[in-house]
């Protein structure tokens, strides 16, 4: 496999764009990435497009019709919340394999106000929701946090502190849907969605797009003197586990992906400058501290209590403000997480910059299941 560089990054502010369609949002991000790379669409040899809700709508090809239909191969990717990062990985593999020198990865989603409760459908007469437990995301991730409470005595305050931290970081992210601090008292007293997750411990949904230009090392050197490198790209699905799928297991596949990624990159978690991880709910972030090896098992409560994951702390987590601030347009999320690391490595992260960042990890998990981890370095 060849070395692959990220040379272009483009993203739109996540939010609600009821007057635009998803293709135009994605086109904006793609053009931004091409400009950032200093190339035109004519130089792109392969395109991977991630979009979940419209996965049968040929979004990738429609984007190309907007920005330049050059006739190159386009693949459309759907992989739950890991849709965007799986598209990125397809583009990465296309270049790493030696088949192409320049690839474009695009992630996009338009969710409007549908939210995480909007999914489902099917025959409502035989819906088990609320009569045989829950399959709604706030409850599912509530249970995942409660499992940590059961094992280690974690308190609701620990999860709430994560929301406080991420919203504090998000204030400095112009791409975030919400740039607003949420003090601990507000988080604890906010409307309960699914215990222990209150409103501010659940990510907002909305629309968004993000894109990246990937190049072989040789090609990258023609366009930049400071390429950013993909040091690892891992993708896993669920191995068998006793309670799964009754209870989704968000831990095992993350641990498996982390091991693969650290092995590929030849580093351990202690060498990371920062992490962008999948905080769809505050409860999820806490358990991933341990799943990614940022602290030992059972230590996540102390980890957040000490302020280790805040900017300026031992290992800043979600300097972007995380999904809790940024929002979570499913197909765009995975690319956006990677771009955040790229901007920090380039020193372009403005008020949220992690000083002297050298290597970062971007993690995304989709239930059902798909987990991607990318390690990105200078």
């Amino acid at each position: 496999m060849r070395d692959v560089a990220i040379v272009g990054a483009g993203m739109i502010k996540f939010g609600r764009y009821p007057d635009k369609d998803v293709v135009s949002l994605a086109a904006d991000a793609a053009i931004g990435a091409l400009k950032d790379a200093g190339i035109s669409i004519n130089e792109v040899e392969m395109v991977a497009s991630g979009n979940l809700y419209q996965s049968n709508a040929m979004i990738g090809q429609r984007i190309m019709k907007e920005i330049g239909a050059t006739g190159v191969p386009v693949v459309n990717v759907a992989n739950a919340c890991a849709t965007g990062s799986t598209a990125f990985r397809e583009a990465y593999m296309a270049v790493a394999s030696g088949m192409y020198d320049v690839a474009l990865a695009i992630g996009s989603e338009q969710m409007g106000k549908m939210g995480l409760l909007g999914a489902g459908g099917g025959n409502r007469d035989y819906s088990t929701e609320g009569v045989m437990g829950t399959g709604l995301m706030p409850g599912v991730f509530g249970q995942a946090g409660v499992e940590h409470m059961r094992k280690y005595g974690t308190k609701m305050e620990h999860f709430a502190k994560i929301s406080v931290k991420n919203h504090k970081h998000g204030v400095h992210n112009p791409y975030a849907q919400y740039q607003q601090e949420t003090p601990l008292e507000d988080v604890m007293n906010a409307r309960m969605i699914a215990w222990p997750n209150t409103l501010y411990m659940c990510c907002p949904t909305g629309d968004g797009a993000a894109a990246a230009v990937l190049m072989s090392a040789e090609k990258a050197k023609q366009h930049t003197t400071k390429p950013i490198w993909v040091a690892a790209s891992a993708l896993t699905s669920d191995p068998w586990q006793e309670r799964n799928p009754t209870m989704f297991d968000v831990n095992t596949l993350t641990r498996n992906a982390a091991k693969l990624a650290y092995d590929q990159a030849g580093i351990g978690p202690e060498e990371l400058s920062q992490v962008e991880l999948h905080d769809c709910f505050a409860t999820a972030e806490l358990i991933h501290y341990e799943n990614l090896g940022l602290c030992g098992d059972g230590e996540a409560g102390d980890f957040i209590d000490r302020g280790d994951p805040q900017i300026g702390g031992r290992i800043p987590v979600n300097a972007s403000g995380g999904l809790l601030s940024k929002g979570h347009p499913l197909g765009a999320t995975g690319v956006a997480n990677i771009l955040e690391i790229v901007w920090h490595l380039r020193g372009q992260a403005g008020g949220r910059q992690v000083e002297n960042s050298k290597v970062g990890l971007a993690h995304v998990i989709g239930l059902g299941s798909a987990c991607t981890i990318h390690i990105i370095k200078k």
């Binding site: 489902g120 007469d125 035989y126 609320g130 045989m132 437990g133 399959g135 509530g142 699914a194 309670r243």
Partner: protein, 146 residues
């Protein structure tokens, strides 16, 4: 049998395929699963093959216990329109080595507590709605045992 009486004949349909409602009303409804003869893994309902070891021999049907214990839970406050909330949504471990999602009653949803971990619960069935053909939709629910 005339057409009128046939259309009036209401059925009691389980909400999930792994809940069985015997024809004989004297027999209690029960949860059932499939057990892999090769590795012993247990799954809810019917299986084509074993999802743990990949064995393709027909799995053995198992009658699951109506008592289990709460592994973890959430209390869902915001839910889909038309549902009563809040409700205690738990993962219930059954002694056969498989788990089931369930609403648990007999706990105060406003005061979730670590004391709920490991609590013994017993299954019961209840009609939760009528489907568009007029049949009863029967769900399995759980009540805390004291």
């Amino acid at each position: 049998m005339t057409q009128e009486t046939a259309s009036e004949e209401k059925k009691r349909n389980p909400i999930v395929p792994f809940l069985r409602i015997p024809e004989d009303p004297k027999e209690e409804p029960y949860l059932w699963g499939s057990k892999c003869k090769a590795c012993g893994a247990v799954f809810l309902g019917e299986r084509i093959a074993c999802g743990k070891c990949g064995d393709t021999d027909p799995l053995e049907e198992v009658h699951l216990s109506d008592e289990g214990e709460i592994y973890v839970f959430s209390v869902v406050h915001q839910t889909v329109p038309g549902l009563e909330a809040p409700y205690v949504a738990a993962i219930i471990d059954l002694p056969e080595g498989v788990s089931v999602r369930g609403n648990v009653y007999g706990l105060d949803p406003e005061n979730p507590s670590p004391e709920w971990f490991g609590k013994k619960v017993r299954m019961y069935t209840e009609k939760v709605r009528t489907d568009r053909e007029g049949n009863d939709v029967i769900a399995a629910k759980f009540r805390v045992l004291n």
